[in-house]
Amino acid sequence: MNTLGHYTRLWLAGARYSIIRTMMFRADFIMWSLVELFWMAVNLLLIAVVYRHTNSIAGWGPWEMTLIVGTSMLVQRLLMGLFWTNLFEMGRNVRSGHFDFFMAQPGSPLFMVSTRKIDLDGFLNAPLALAVVLYAAHRLGLHPGIAQISLYFLFIICGLAIHYSTLLVLVSLVFWLQSAKGLEGGYFGVNEFSRLPREALRGIAAVIFVYALPVVVVTNVPARTLLYGAELGPALWLAGAAAFWLTVAILVFNRGLRRYSSASS
């Protein structure tokens, strides 16, 4: 319990520092919030344009698709707000030797590396993503119960764990490659698939994006929970994938950490 309290205090101190820093550069914060907002609008615009010309994508109607896209945006905003900057900077810090700073902190290096900063602009757009989900649910005439809503958020946390883990694995490659620059491009490419219904993927694409890298499951399982209620098989699959990827990411990070030797003088 004491350990939990200790890490909560560390996270709160980091969050306080991030908020104060963000408020020092308010114009920059507003600009970045607009950037995030605009990219979210781009995703919705694509759906709007496609459904001007078709009634269904793999059996999913426009508002069901909006539910998936909104869920994808929610996971993405939480990832951006909580972890993205930290992991992105980790690659640079390992290369430059500034990673030493995290080794000397009063906590687990993985925790310190992952949670030092929060990005308010990513965080503040998360409620907007949630608003998209709520609006889509309203248009679909859904009235989910407390259990469904709780499960939806539990699955969002599982999805966040999967995204965090895959990103951590990618960035941890810096311990071997000396540069993870450009790998985020691959991450964003793969993440595009989280905006697709499972039924749209067939063959090798389904094997890769549903089973090997479960980005499709991350959004489809929560969305289907709101639409049709909890389904045991997919729920277990999502929770299992989250546990698996988190374990792999921690193992890869720790193996990488053993290879790390300070680069600074």
């Binding site: 950037v35 605009f38 344009v49």
Partner: protein, 270 residues
């Protein structure tokens, strides 16, 4: 005149050499773009299921549009030129160009052309490797005069793309941090340049309005010419005219920003 050309030719050759050093970066980037292409194929494949055409074009024509768009990105679009210009201003590296008989715009443009030549050729490798899988899903229009019209359109697109990036880079004279401006502009360019969906799928009035904006001529216009989405001669000529107008207008804006920005610039250090 020849001496001037030789000067920028030398810069082009140096740019070619330094970009070849980063050949793996370009190759990896091109490889990742195939992931995006797979997403496009899955999404549009599902959207076309059960219908023969969307917006007057069949699935093969639509997929061809996206493949051409992807190839064009590596041949004519600005990638990190805005950041590089911004860094040169911030670090005072442009000071050397103020003392030499070199036009900074032409210097950067020579480097841009060399970089796109390298990135474009490297992007062709994964595309050619994927061609056996893609061949039956693609269709190009028969050779016609729209291909000839695409040549000046592509050249002007490259100038427009570079000049917009150049203008954003020059904003560093006024703002210390321009990254958010660039990413915001990228979102606008991505949509209105037709990279997210073919612009002709927009409502008619919105499509007509987009044709008056410079973004339309960044990517969509040449891609539409190459893939047969624009075929009417009058529309092509009008498009080329408007594209020329935007190219000149952007060059004028770039010149204005450069001369105004230099008034604010302070060269410090030896």
């Amino acid at each position: 005149m020849l001496a001037v050309l030789n000067k920028y030719r030398s810069i082009f050759v140096v740019g070619l050499q330094s970009n070849l050093v980063y050949r793996w970066n370009f190759a990896v980037r091109a490889g990742f773009s195939l992931i995006h292409l797979t997403f496009v194929f899955v999404l549009w494949g599902a959207a076309f299921a059960g219908q023969t055409g969307i917006g007057g074009f069949d699935l093969r024509q639509t997929l061809t549009y996206f493949v051409v768009m992807l190839a064009l990105q590596f041949f004519i679009s600005a990638m990190n030129e805005d950041y590089e210009i911004s860094e040169e201003i911030r670090n005072g590296l442009i000071n050397q160009f103020l003392l030499k008989p070199i036009n900074y715009y032409l210097y950067r443009f020579s480097l841009f052309v060399s970089a796109r030549l390298v990135s474009g050729m490297l992007a062709l490798i994964p595309l050619l490797l994927a061609l056996p899988l893609l061949a039956d899903k693609l269709v190009l229009p028969a050779f016609g005069w729209n291909y000839l019209a695409a040549i000046p359109a592509l050249a002007m697109s490259a100038v427009i793309q570079f000049t917009i990036a150049y203008c954003f880079g020059l904003l560093t004279f006024w703002f210390l941090e321009i990254q958010s401006f660039i990413i915001l502009s990228l979102a606008v360019e991505t949509v209105l340049g037709g990279q997210v969906f073919p612009l002709d799928l927009l409502p008619k009035w919105l499509y007509a309005a987009s044709a008056y904006l410079p973004y339309y001529y960044q990517m969509y216009f040449p891609a539409a010419l190459l893939t047969g989405r624009i075929t009417e001669q009058a529309v092509v000529l009008r498009g080329l005219g408007l594209q020329f107008f935007w190219m000149v207008a952007l060059l004028a804006i770039a010149h204005l920003l450069w001369s105004r920005g230099l008034r604010r610039h302070t060269a410090v250090g030896g």
